[in-house]
């Protein structure tokens, strides 16, 4: 699938028909993030609502997908139900290689099915099945049924949504192959608005290997780097949960709705504890030998006489933060049980946990009660959180329906905006300081992976607004190129520009190989232009007061610095997008 253009399948669920589109732009928009933005500009309606049936949901891969290790992710872009603006969410699993082996650079879904449906594609087929009988079905059960209804075991991806997505929750996710997710900013609802419960992509295409002696040699070198050296060890050993202890130690781990940044109870739910007590096995995305997916087990006696249920749940740093420390839940099994409910509901576990943390503090302060939450929410009470999660996904009353749109939406109705831990969307688990708070608030995906702000905070205590702004903008450009490949960002230490250039040359993309920096900047600009056209304004995003009240290893947050930094970063973004007319 090395080609000088993009090959796209556009499926219209209203008509039930698809169309193969050949699109120019390989040497400018590259793939992944760049291609997704290009496709949204072609098919998207920036000024129309996110749930307009004509809005596209886009899945895009890159020029190295399937050809090198860790080029194993897919970019999903759509107009977000969370902020009604253009966004991206990234996931791995088998999604990327399935698209690659379906001979597609991207799949674009437009229109709306009359009834709940499942879309199946391969390199030689397109099928839309009525699955209205699955309405309201949880993610787990949906996956089991879709597996049985489709062919290609092992060589397919199964994307599906749960009740949260069907109900339009802005924190609903798209589950990818059970253990991965297009998690943030409401991709689940974007599919739900189309009555699209599942997408099965069967990768059955065959491509000729690049006619270049360097290719196999280079592949072996990259493979050796990612498996035989320590470079990737942190991801497959304890995995990202290793960071819990470290961040707690430097007073940067949010606890109980960010009322604290450190707690001695961390030793009950740190990475070591999860690995020792709950880790069942590791799993991997297709094309990635690192295997960073940590699958835990929960064994519970559900009746007397030793009748047990057995569940497997994949955990990461972010979920232990959002469903553990943020909710004051300090035993591993309880965290996993809440996570399992999040998975079944099809909720973004990060946003869901942070939203429930806000609801708990709002309960403590008397702004809401069991009249709204049905169960009384108390920090540390995992049983209540499990029940609340099901109600959140099910949008079971006005309160949960509103909370599912975001903590700030609920706070506007019930009060408590000051302590809603929202930085553009519900926060990621890094209370590292001013740089991260500004970076997530205005970051393109409102993700800690948009740029290295959280890392910068941990290495610098000086206040350098110009230097930080330059760092965030430049770092984002490099990542924009990586997410156009589409590489797992865990591999950013391995794939230097030089190595990426060699890889691109070896498969037949010499022009991309020699223009990495300018292409990264071009894609960064294109993405921001697309976002701005759909309504982004840095001034519309405020940082809640809670973030100004905390202490990190650097001391108390400096409110003047944080505000000035956010302002400068916002201006830099708008200048970059060509929209700053000051």
């Amino acid at each position: 699938m090395i080609r000088d253009h993009f090959r796209i399948l556009v499926v219209n669920l209203s008509s039930g028909k698809g169309q193969i589109v050949h699109l120019d732009g390989r040497n400018t928009e590259v793939g992944g993030s760049g291609l997704a933005a290009l496709l949204f500009q072609k098919y998207g309606l920036p000024e129309q609502s996110w749930d307009d049936p004509a809005q596209p949901v886009i899945f895009a891969i890159g020029p190295l997908t399937g050809y090198f290790p860790l080029m194993s992710k897919t970019v999903c872009s759509f107009k977000s139900p969370y902020h009604n603006q253009y966004t991206e969410s990234h996931a791995g699993g088998r999604s990327a290689l399935s698209l690659c082996f379906s001979n597609l650079d991207a799949l674009v879904v437009v229109g709306k099915s009359e009834r709940l449906c499942c879309l199946s594609v391969s390199s030689r087929s397109l099928d839309i099945k009525d699955i209205d009988f699955m309405r309201g079905m949880d993610v787990d059960e949906t996956g089991k049924l879709l597996r049985g209804m489709s062919k290609g075991s092992g060589h397919r991806t199964i994307l599906r949504i749960g009740p949260a997505g069907e109900n339009g929750a802005a924190m609903s996710c798209i589950n990818v192959d059970t253990y991965r997710h297009f998690g943030r900013l409401g991709g689940g609802a974007a599919l739900g608005a189309k009555n699209l419960k599942g997408i099965i992509i069967h990768g059955d295409a065959i491509f000729t290997m690049p006619d270049n002696k360097q290719y196999n040699k280079l592949f072996a070198e990259v493979y050796k780097q990612v498996t035989a050296t320590d470079m990737m060890k942190k991801y497959h050993n304890l995995g990202t949960p290793a960071n819990l202890q470290g961040l707690n130690d430097i007073k940067s781990l949010p606890w109980r709705n960010l009322q604290a940044t450190s707690d001695p109870a961390i030793d009950q739910i740190n990475g070591e504890r999860f690995a020792t007590d709950t880790l069942l096995r590791n799993s991997a995305c297709s094309g990635c030998p690192v295997g960073c997916i940590h699958v835990a087990y929960i064994r519970e006696m559900f009746t007397e006489n030793h009748r047990y249920t057995f569940k497997q749940v994949a955990y990461d740093y972010e979920m232990i933060f959002s469903l553990g420390t943020m909710l004051g839940v300090t035993d591993t099994t309880s965290v996993l049980n809440i996570l399992d409910e999040m998975e079944k509901a099809g909720l973004d576990a990060m946003s869901g946990g942070v939203a429930l943390a806000w609801a708990t503090e709002a309960t403590e302060k008397g702004l809401i009660s069991a009249k709204e939450t049905v169960v009384t929410l108390t920090f540390g009470d995992s049983d209540s959180y499990q029940q609340a999660t099901e109600m959140l996904g099910g949008c079971s009353n006005d309160f949960y329906r509103l909370l599912g749109q975001g903590s700030l939406k609920a706070a506007e109705e019930y009060g408590g905006k000051d302590f809603a831990c929202v930085l553009g969307q519900e926060m990621a688990g890094y209370a590292t300081g001013e740089v991260f708070f500004a970076a997530q608030s205005l970051g393109f995906r409102h993700s800690h992976l948009d740029s290295g702000g959280y890392s910068y905070d941990q290495k610098h205590s000086d206040q350098d607004i110009g230097g930080v702004t330059d760092f965030l903008i430049n770092d984002e450009a490099g990542r924009a190129f990586m997410t156009s490949m589409v590489s797992c960002l865990f591999a950013r230490g391995v794939y230097t520009n030089e190595l990426l250039g060699d890889c691109l040359s070896s498969v037949g993309y010499p022009e991309l190989a020699t223009n990495i920096d300018p292409l990264g900047k071009h894609i960064q600009k294109l993405r921001w232009q697309t976002r701005v056209a759909s309504g982004f304004s840095p001034d519309a995003i405020t940082i809640p007061k809670r973030f100004f009240k905390i202490k990190t290893w650097k001391g108390a947050i400096d409110p003047v610095y944080l505000n000035n930094l956010k302002k400068a970063y916002g201006e830099a973004i708008m200048t970059l997008a060509g929209n700053n007319h000051d």
Partner: protein, 144 residues
């Protein structure tokens, strides 16, 4: 004589590096399917993985089924493949009791030739290339 085995397949993480290596290095292709070893989830991702590959039957039913001699019996088990003789009938695919042979859309078939080039690409050492002890006068494997 060598034979590919997967004695530690319970360690498999499902990365498909072995399949991709076989397709790339043996068949000069980029594919999940055109490989002599293919990884599948064993009844859903929650139940682990299994590797579909030739178990070196002796005699091999696929070779018996082949009408043109494209597949012939390999000493010690498994088959010797002569692609030029293949008429893409697929009889070998049907004859294999464990679904170890795949057939692409053009009809070409892919089976493990026990070369072991996939072994180095398994990050968890699930795969091994074993020596098959041979009886001097027979193609049969020596049993204990």
């Amino acid at each position: 004589m060598k034979k590919l085995t997967a004695p530690k397949i319970d360690r498999c993480i499902g990365c498909h590096s072995c399949s991709l290596a076989c397709a790339r290095l043996v068949h000069k292709q980029i594919s999940w399917d055109t490989a002599g070893i293919r990884i599948k989830s064993s009844g859903g991702l929650t139940t682990g993985f299994k590797a579909n590959h030739c178990l070196a039957c002796d005699p091999a039913p696929c070779a018996d089924a082949c009408p043109t001699g494209a597949f012939s019996h390999r000493k010690g088990g498994g088959v010797i493949v002569k692609k030029k003789l293949c008429i893409t009938c697929g009889d070998c695919v049907a004859a294999c009791p464990i679904d170890a042979i795949s057939q692409d859309f053009s009809g070409a078939v892919y089976v493990c030739i026990h070369c072991g080039r996939c072994v180095d690409f398994c990050p968890h050492n699930c795969l091994e290339l074993e020596d098959i002890p041979m009886d001097k006068d027979s193609r049969k494997e020596v049993t204990a």
